[in-house]
């Protein structure tokens, strides 16, 4: 809501600049989006009197005008506006002036004719299209005839006012009005404010003979109408038009403008009906019936159902209650009798109606937040009285009341001790009472106990905590002390799961992978790739796009998306890991279970190439090295093994392994299937994904000290030819099993599968290290053990020792 600084000053004696006032409101009341003075940045824009208008000889739409701008000689200005006419008072941008958007106006020639400046439309001096009166939208604006040529135009158009744009939170419906703002400012500045309330002069017949309202008080706790006859529809006076366009409303005609003006002043939405268009004299506030239709003021057609509240006459709905009026009963230039509606509708209905019909209006916004149920008649009277003043209307006697349901005011007990205990302050009773009273609350004290009665207009205040907020903000948050919680000590420690997750990240970063955070919502396809076990997918009910519609059941695809993003930007070497949740759902459950996973993906080279180090593309064994090192860091108490997996559809069938602990599968790793990689538009990529939750849950080995033997170790190398299908794991397992008591380690140091070995065979070479912790080993003992192993390799695995 844009609120006028000048309007505020009419009621409150404030000695602050607009920017300071805005700052104060923001610090004490509601957020301020900005403060704008419409004339700011404009220069040399004055009133001009059009003395003559001639057609331009070389143009069918330009006119050559002589314009008096208060100087000795008139200016010749070429103007293309269709509505230019002799005798008009117009807005002239003089040579050297600056108009909207910082555009400078210079002397120029238009089709050969010199033009000293420009005659302006309102939009050209910064008005939004939405607020320019309809008749001037496509042409220049015509100022009142009593304007003085040569004067700056700003005051004529209200442009020297400052407009404070309030971003009102949902609880402060009362701030969506001048009166509400004034009441808050009165408390903030601790100044008195008197709000004017005009007397209505009733001159016509009794309304009861002309209008009967039948309102359902559950739908509309307040529903009232006044009738104003003999109304003359005309443009509003300038001051009213200025109030409206400065608040962001387009002036339309006196009757409609009055309803908007009263809404701005009182916060009470009003609607003006053309009474003569009613079918009959009865007005109903009721639920719509299925099948009913309504065309609203904006010419939108709406199918109604029984959730909607409508205003109806004897035949059909005439308004969508609290949202927008209907077209058939709207005010036109021919209207002579106006029925003014002032009502309060049930906020929940209005909110849903506005959503259902996608019609969010200033009225619906106010009803959703709650309108002052005790102020309906005041607003209605003020509107009726203005229609007498500005449209020569005759207000009929009495108000037609369809419902009159005013809630009891909130009466809230509050103790001074509680105030100070919650705010951390040391306020005195008198101070607290004064703050509450300055807001218009009634306070009765008994010792330190207060009983606070809250005016109905403040429908956001129900409990002591609400009062604490009022006290705190008016007292000033800057005045609160700055302390830290005291009381019983608590320990702040991470859980072992949290520690492990941190360790996981540090480990993988140490191994060269950058942490990525990808989207957990993905496409239906990607959500179910690289699955570690079967699961139902979990879909959003109303996704924004197919790209983010399904919850992921793997982390790898997010990383592949990231790699694709990098690849598309010519970043070739990408090494990423991500720790995050996957979402598995069992059939029949609405809610998925969440499992922590850890995944990595590398494309290009992990070790960056340098002038002394060639680039080496990532391969299976590099990603395996990372997984091994990471799992070593996690110190899982159990055998980690790797088994070829030829069956994952998204993975290379010959270069994929399952990762197992004690035979239990906790993840996979390997090369992404080239077909999958192609789909993602990425090159050769190696990935792993592990069930981090499983790692968290597994028993761990504690670090322990092992004496380093003082006795020398003896090594023996063994090279052998084995059939291709014999795996390293088999060989190492056999050596370890048969290696004897002193075998300390088996280390593979060479693999050869080239032309120098027979087809179907490969050559592997290992270093075996023997050591006795208690004495120096004798060579013979080692030789004996070694020969045993050689024999077993030959017998059990068909190895040829070389």
């Amino acid at each position: 809501m844009k609120i006028s600084y000048n309007w505020i000053k009419e009621y409150l004696d404030l000695d602050v600049k607009p920017a300071d006032l805005a700052e104060k409101i923001e610090r004490t009341s509601v957020e301020v989006d900005d403060v704008v003075t419409p004339s700011a940045g404009l220069k040399k824009i004055v009133v001009g009197h059009v003395l003559s208008v001639e057609a331009h000889p070389d143009s069918d739409h330009l006119h050559i005008c002589q314009v008096d701008v208060g100087e000795d000689d008139p200016l010749q200005i070429v103007c293309g506006a269709p509505n230019i006419a002799k005798g008009q008072m117009v807005i002239v941008a003089l040579p050297g002036s600056r108009i909207a958007d910082n555009v400078k106006i210079k002397k120029s020639k238009m089709r050969g004719v010199p033009s000293a400046g420009m005659i302006c439309a309102l939009q050209e001096i910064g008005f939004s299209d939405d607020v320019v009166p309809k008749e001037y939208v496509d042409g220049i604006y015509v100022l009142p005839a009593d304007a003085t040529p040569g004067d700056d135009v700003y005051d004529y158009l209200g442009m020297n006012d400052s407009l404070i744009d309030l971003d009102v939170t949902p609880n402060r419906g009362d701030m969506l009005s001048l009166n509400g703002t004034l009441r808050d400012l009165a408390a903030i500045y601790d100044k008195p404010v008197t709000l004017d309330q005009p007397e209505v002069k009733e001159t016509g017949d009794a309304i009861a003979d002309q209008l009967m309202i039948h309102a359902d008080a559950d739908l509309a706790p307040q529903y009232r109408m006044r009738l104003v006859k003999q109304v003359k529809i005309a443009p509003s006076p300038m001051w009213l038009q200025i109030r409206l366009w400065n608040a962001g409303y387009r002036p339309i005609n006196n009757v409609v403008d009055i309803t908007n003006y009263i809404m701005l002043k009182y916060g009470q939405p009003l609607h003006a009906f053309d009474y003569d268009k009613f079918a009959g004299q009865d007005v109903y506030v009721r639920n719509a019936k299925a099948g009913e239709k309504l065309t609203t003021l904006d010419e939108g057609e709406h199918d109604l159902d029984d959730h909607d509240i409508v205003i109806a006459d004897d035949q059909a709905p005439i308004a969508l209650a609290g949202v927008m009026g209907g077209l058939t009963t709207s005010i036109t230039d021919e209207t002579t009798t106006v029925a003014i509606e002032a009502a309060v509708f049930e906020h929940d209905h209005i909110r849903k109606a506005a959503q259902r019909h996608n019609l969010h209006t200033d009225a619906s916004q106010r009803f959703e937040r709650g309108v002052n149920r005790a102020g309906v008649q005041d607003a209605l009277d003020a509107a009726a009285e203005m229609m007498t003043d500005l449209a020569d209307g005759a207000v009929q006697t009495g108000t037609a009341v369809g419902s009159d349901n005013v809630p009891e005011p909130a009466v809230i007990p509050l103790s001074l001790t509680h105030v100070n205990a919650v705010l951390g302050t040391d306020l005195e009773l008198a101070k607290v009472v004064h703050i509450l009273e300055s807001l218009g609350f009634k306070v009765v004290t008994a010792g330190e106990d207060m009983t606070v009665t809250v005016p109905i207009r403040r429908n956001d205040i129900h409990i002591p905590a609400d009062l604490l907020e009022e006290i705190a903000r008016i007292y000033g948050y800057d005045e609160l002390p700055t302390t830290l919680p005291t009381g019983r000590m608590t320990m702040g420690t991470l859980t072992s799961a949290q520690k492990l997750m941190r360790a996981t990240r540090h480990s993988l970063e140490g191994l060269g992978l950058n942490q990525a955070i990808s989207y957990a919502l993905t496409t239906a396809d990607k959500a179910k790739m690289f699955m570690m076990h079967s699961s139902e997918e979990t879909n959003l009910a109303w996704p924004m796009s197919v790209d983010h519609a399904v919850l992921r059941m793997n982390v790898v695809t997010g990383l592949l998306d990231d790699i694709a993003y990098n690849t598309a930007r010519k970043v070739k070497d990408v090494a990423l890991y991500e720790q995050g949740r996957v979402f598995y759902r069992e059939d029949g459950n609405d809610r998925p279970s969440e499992e922590e996973h850890i995944a990595g993906a590398i494309t290009g080279t992990l070790m960056p190439a340098g002038w002394n180090q060639p680039a080496k593309d990532v391969d299976f064994y590099q990603i395996k090295g990372i997984v091994e090192a990471y799992l070593k860091d996690m110190a899982i108490n159990g055998d980690v093994t790797y088994e070829a997996n030829t069956d994952m559809p998204e993975m290379h069938p010959g270069r994929t392994a399952d990762i197992l602990v004690h035979g239990h599968r906790i993840g996979f790793m390997g090369q992404v299937h080239p077909t999958t990689a192609k789909k993602f538009k990425i090159g050769a990529t190696y990935v792993f994904e592990l069930n981090l939750q499983a790692i968290i849950d597994m028993p761990k080995q504690e670090n322990q000290y092992d004496v380093i033997s003082r006795y020398p170790a003896i090594t023996r190398d063994i090279a052998m030819l084995v059939p291709d299908e014999v795996t390293n794991d088999q060989i190492v397992a056999l050596i370890e099993k048969r290696g004897g008591a002193f075998l300390q380690s088996v280390k593979l140091f060479d693999v050869y599968d080239g032309v120098k070995v027979p087809k179907g065979k490969k050559s592997l070479a290992y270093t075996l290290t023997y050591q006795d912790k208690h004495e120096t080993l004798v060579d013979d003992a080692v030789t004996q053990a070694f020969e045993k192993v050689e024999k077993r390799l030959q017998d059990d695995l068909g190895a040829e020792i070389r």
């Binding site: 700052e23 923001e26 509601v30 957020e31 900005d34 939170t169 906020h347 909110r351 849903k352 937040r369 205990a421 919650v422 705010l423 951390g424 409990i463 905590a465 609400d466 907020e469 903000r473 948050y477 800057d478 609160l480 302390t483 830290l484 919680p485 005291t486 009381g487 019983r488 608590t490 702040g492 420690t493 941190r502 993988l508 970063e509 191994l511 060269g512 950058n514 942490q515 990525a516 955070i517 990808s518 919502l521 979990t538 959003l540 009910a541 109303w542 924004m544 983010h548 919850l551 993003y565 970043v571 090494a575 990423l576 979402f583 609405d590 809610r591 969440e594 960056p608 340098g610 002394n612």
Partner: protein, 348 residues
């Protein structure tokens, strides 16, 4: 010539030869020729047999003295020559120390993770627990127990991804507050917790909006927690994340789960509080929402609001990172361009 004179002469000649030697081979030859078993000094000493018993020890001592001196001279010369050789070799080994070092593989934590870790560490130090809850939540915990009953207008403030009518992607990490409050045993001490995590909103991704982002909610409930404590806690947070020069101010706001509710602003990074276009000339930037926990929230979780109370706050690490580093597009956090990820390398 007496033996002594002979020794003198040998001494002088030996020293001269040592001085003349130009490489280690020479030095070795000189050593062998002077001090070897067939060398002149041995020869001279052999002649001592002919001396008086009285003379013998004197000459013997003298001969030893000369031999020691020559041995020392040889060692010295050897060292000189060795040093010269080493220096020559080292001179040859000179490299261009300005060539870049050999690259190593090194990964970086995500900038948002860094901020979350920093917040966690700060609050751990103040005795808070870190708790993380489910990302797919029940409407009950995400909204209802946060004092946002169905049809509450403020639900529109947080457009939500629903899965079913009752199941949704959490829009905030505060559901964990309700879950923890329900379970907490206050006889064991106050509840002090933060819950960091990913949250989701029905937003179209653009430079300032992301359908996925992060939040860290904080909650303290005890018998005597004040709004001044909230102010102090937020001040500590601002100082930790941004530096001691940053001030915090509170402004009224509205959240259904707190009352009073405040927004907290901190001193503008860009202008230090003087006013600029980043802070819309206010000198302040809005960074988080907070407030005193609404009695309804406590009541719904089975905590007596007449006895217990406290504060809650919610901060957005994404927004913090954007402000702190001037990141102009929130999507950078989720697209994982390596050139972005590797910009935030400062540790500690």
């Amino acid at each position: 010539m007496s033996l002594k004179d002979k020794l003198d002469e040998l001494h002088q000649r030996g020293l001269a030869e040592i001085k003349k030697s130009t490489d280690l081979k020479d030095v070795n030859q000189v050593r062998v020729s002077l001090l070897g078993k067939k060398g002149p000094i041995t020869e001279v000493l052999r002649g001592m047999r002919d001396l008086d018993a009285e003379e013998r020890p004197k000459v013997g001592a003298f001969a030893n003295e000369i031999r020691d001196d020559l041995t020392a001279a040889l060692a010295k010369r050897r060292e000189e020559l060795e040093n010269a050789i080493l220096n020559a070799r080292l001179a040859n080994e000179k490299i261009d120390v300005t060539l870049p070092g050999t690259p190593v593989a090194k990964g970086e934590p995500h900038v948002i993770q860094q901020i979350i870790d920093q917040i966690e560490d700060l609050f751990l130090g103040m005795g808070y627990q870190v708790l993380s809850g489910p990302e797919v939540e029940e409407d009950k915990y995400n909204f209802e127990m946060m004092n946002l009953p169905k049809n509450h207008p403020a639900r529109d403030m947080q457009d939500t991804f629903y899965i079913t009518k009752e199941i949704l992607m959490r829009t905030q990490t505060s559901p964990m507050q309700a879950r923890t409050l329900e379970k907490h045993d206050f006889s064991q001490g106050p509840l002090k917790m933060i819950s960091p995590g990913v949250v989701y909103r029905r937003d179209t991704d653009d430079p300032t909006h992301s359908h996925q982002f992060h939040q860290v909610e904080g909650l303290v409930i005890d018998k005597h927690i004040t709004m001044a404590d909230l102010k102090g806690t937020l001040q500590v947070l601002a100082h930790e994340l941004f530096g001691d020069k940053f001030d915090v101010r509170l402004r009224p706001s509205y959240f259904p789960f707190t009352e009073p509710s405040v927004e907290a602003d901190i001193t503008c990074f860009n202008c230090g509080g003087k006013g600029c276009n980043v802070c819309k000339n206010t000198g302040w930037i809005e960074v988080l929402g907070a407030g005193m926990v609404h009695p309804n929230v406590l009541k719904m979780a089975g905590v007596d609001p007449d006895v217990y109370g406290g504060f809650a706050f919610g901060v957005g690490p994404d927004r913090f990172a954007m402000l702190k580093y001037g990141v102009d597009d929130i999507r950078n956090f989720y697209l994982n361009d390596v050139r972005f990820l590797t910009q935030f390398t400062k540790k500690g």
